[in-house]
Symmetry: C2
Subunit: 220 residues, 2 copies
DNA sequence: TTGATGATACGTGGATACAAAAATACTTTT
DNA sequence: AAAAGTATTTTTGTATCCACGTATCATCAA
């Protein structure tokens, strides 16, 4: 292996973690599905042990539920839980944008504008990359806050809601409101008013939740 | 084992998790200490396998750091990280108190008053239970919010800062400011003004950070 | 037909075994 | 005596194995 491409898959556990997380984010497993270590291990060519360890982390992330002696099932969100996550996101990302404000320069603004355009284009083409572009915008703002733990917590929540966002985005035909709200966030940032920016972000996030809620699978 | 005492320690992994977490919270291991699975496994009479799995969860909680092929070391916080955690707590617990407000009845107020008194007494007796009492107050308010995920996230952060709080409480002789600030939170709750309560809580939490910061071990 | 009972297959939790990687101790060389 | 290299020990990562718990399904009684 080339030296400049160092050790991509450090451990089997890490590979298992990524593999399953990716599948969950893309909605390849549905809530309630049972994940059998042996099967997954076979898929990626390893023994059950690293997979079990990956399950522990996924459970900590809230992506699966691990119950003693009865294995691992894909976690699903109730409407209440979905709303709760959006409440939490609203204050965390509100904080992020407030902290980001003093660190944003003109270059960063241009970057945000570019992301806005890319999201718009992805929306028109109807592709499911939508979600990715949407998250990129939120992620970029979080990153600007320069707070590692804050960024980490927020992105963990984004992973949990990603499958629901995909369903929503597939179904709904108005990426426009998201575009406008993101533009409003940028405008608030440009205004230089920290508390305004925080508030606009909070409202943007909270306004998304009710729309998403309709797509939470009722089978729970 | 008696049937009415059902399976307290469901799995070995759970026991290992509790054991190590407890030790970390009490500061029995210091940041940078290396945790050797074999040793811990021996302490509690099991093989190193469940301990390894417990390590994964503890790493997710941010209590230890796991690096491929070089084991598990106790995580320590830099001053920046400590501040960051308090920023995050400020918005999360601010949210919690805001959501708790409409659910608080007279009985709950009396409970909070009792906790206030207990904290005061623990402070006078100089005992290290201080921390526990202090957390109980914050924990009670979070619980009143009735938001499982929010409660979970907040208590995870409390675990991370607990060892630092213990050092602080051992050293400083003014539990009084904490008492007054907690009283202010209760007063704000009684006033019925959600946003006031949120703000008072945020300020209480942020005012604690600088005092704590002095006790962060400089060896990092 | 329905509900209890028991046999069977499957899966999980944990211990042990083994190979590979790090850390450590020990030479050897300068 | 210091540095570099080598051998030895320790520890980690993964695979395999076994015992127990759980679920499934067939059998049988009411």
């Amino acid at each position: 292996m080339p030296a400049h491409f160092p050790d991509m898959s450090a451990t089997a556990e890490e590979e298992a973690y990524r593999h399953v997380q990716r599948a969950l984010r893309h909605g390849r497993y549905k809530p309630g599905d049972r994940l059998i270590p042996e099967e997954i291990a076979a898929e990626i060519g390893m023994s059950r042990m690293p997979v079990r360890e990956a399950f522990r982390r996924l459970a900590s992330d809230g992506l699966v539920i691990l119950r003693p002696n009865r294995g691992c099932v894909v976690a699903g969100l109730t409407v209440d839980e979905l709303f709760e996550i959006f409440e939490i996101r609203s204050v965390l990302e509100g904080l992020a944008v407030r902290l980001a404000m003093p660190r944003i320069d003109e270059e960063a603004f241009e970057e945000l504008d570019r992301l806005l355009v890319r999201m718009e284009r992805a929306g028109q083409s109807g592709s499911s990359d939508w979600v990715v572009r949407h998250q990129e915008f939120h992620g970029r703002i979080c990153a600007l806050s320069q707070r590692p733990k804050l960024i980490h917590q927020i992105s963990a929540l984004h992973v949990v809601i990603e499958p629901y966002m995909r369903i929503w985005f597939d179904d709904c035909d108005k990426p426009h409101s998201a575009r406008e709200e993101h533009a409003a966030v940028i405008a608030a940032l440009r205004s230089g008013d920290e508390h305004l920016a925080e508030k606009v972000m909070q409202e943007h996030i909270l306004s998304t939740a009710p729309m998403l809620a309709e797509f939470v699978s009722p089978t729970r």
